[in-house]
């Protein structure tokens, strides 16, 4: 669900591309069997190939462009409080009077 429209486009594009490759190979085989000279692929295969290329690239770009991060160094720290940064685990003290006060 997270990949959304980009992943959908990419997968459809790859499947279309595979189908176009199969069609092209079949067309070549047909030409060889009937011993005709190769001129051009059929127009529907051409259109499908171009469409699959565009779909795949757009899908991948849409999918990956969401991973961009802001390059400002404090972009992900500016909403954090001082309590988060001031939390130094090396300076934790456990040997204090609380041990006696909060005895169970």
């Amino acid at each position: 669900m997270k990949s959304g429209v980009g992943g959908f486009c990419a997968v459809i594009g790859i499947l279309l591309s595979l189908h176009a490759a199969y069609s092209a190979a079949q067309h070549r085989t047909y030409l060889r069997i009937t011993e005709r000279e190769y001129q051009m692929l059929p127009v529907d295969v051409l259109i499908q190939t171009a469409l699959s290329l565009i779909l795949t690239c757009c899908g991948v770009i849409i999918l990956k462009i969401a991973n961009l991060k802001e390059i400002r160094a404090n972009a992900d720290t500016e909403h954090k409080t001082w309590e988060t940064f001031g939390n130094r685990s090396n300076f934790y003290v456990f040997n204090h009077r609380g041990r006696v006060i909060f005895q169970t």
């Binding site: 176009a20 092209a24 070549r28 190939t49 290329l53 795949t56 770009i61 991060k69 390059i71 160094a73």
Partner: protein
């Protein structure tokens, strides 16, 4: 905050081109690297897809190269459109996502897929040689 800045050796000080002094905005090297990785990923996938397409279409000679360069320009355009107006949030300069990876390692992935598809779909010489060889030596 001062302590944080002292600890961060991955910060890059942004140099102002007019005064040649740091402009005061520190950049995060990790974010820059991740953004370049995203661009590399897009370029490589586009090169692989266009290589497959060139092979399927059966382009030969100079047309394969022309196809690659035209499609690379289209990918640059798509990246510019996709990143949009606020590209300065994600990249230091426009060069980083317009021309980065246009020529170089990405071209190799294009070439590999192109040749693979071409020899699989169009040029059957390798397969035909073997069949020819077997036909010659089989009795009748």
């Amino acid at each position: 905050m001062l302590e944080l800045f002292c600890l961060c050796d991955f910060l890059v000080l942004n140099m102002d081109s007019s005064t040649n002094l740091p402009s005061g905005i520190p950049f995060s090297q990790i974010s820059i690297m991740q953004n370049m990785g995203v661009i590399d990923y897009c370029r490589t996938s586009a090169a692989v897809a266009s290589g497959c397409t060139a092979g399927i279409l059966g382009l030969t000679g100079i047309y394969g190269f022309i196809f690659y360069f035209i499609f690379g320009a289209l990918v640059s355009l798509a990246l510019v459109v996709a990143i949009g107006k606020d590209w300065q949030k994600y990249f230091i300069s426009k060069k980083q996502f317009v021309t980065h990876g246009y020529i170089g390692g990405v071209f190799v992935s294009f070439l590999r897929l192109y040749l693979y598809m071409y020899y699989r779909l169009i040029d059957y010489r390798l397969v035909n040689y073997r069949l020819f060889y077997i036909d010659q030596w089989l009795p009748n």
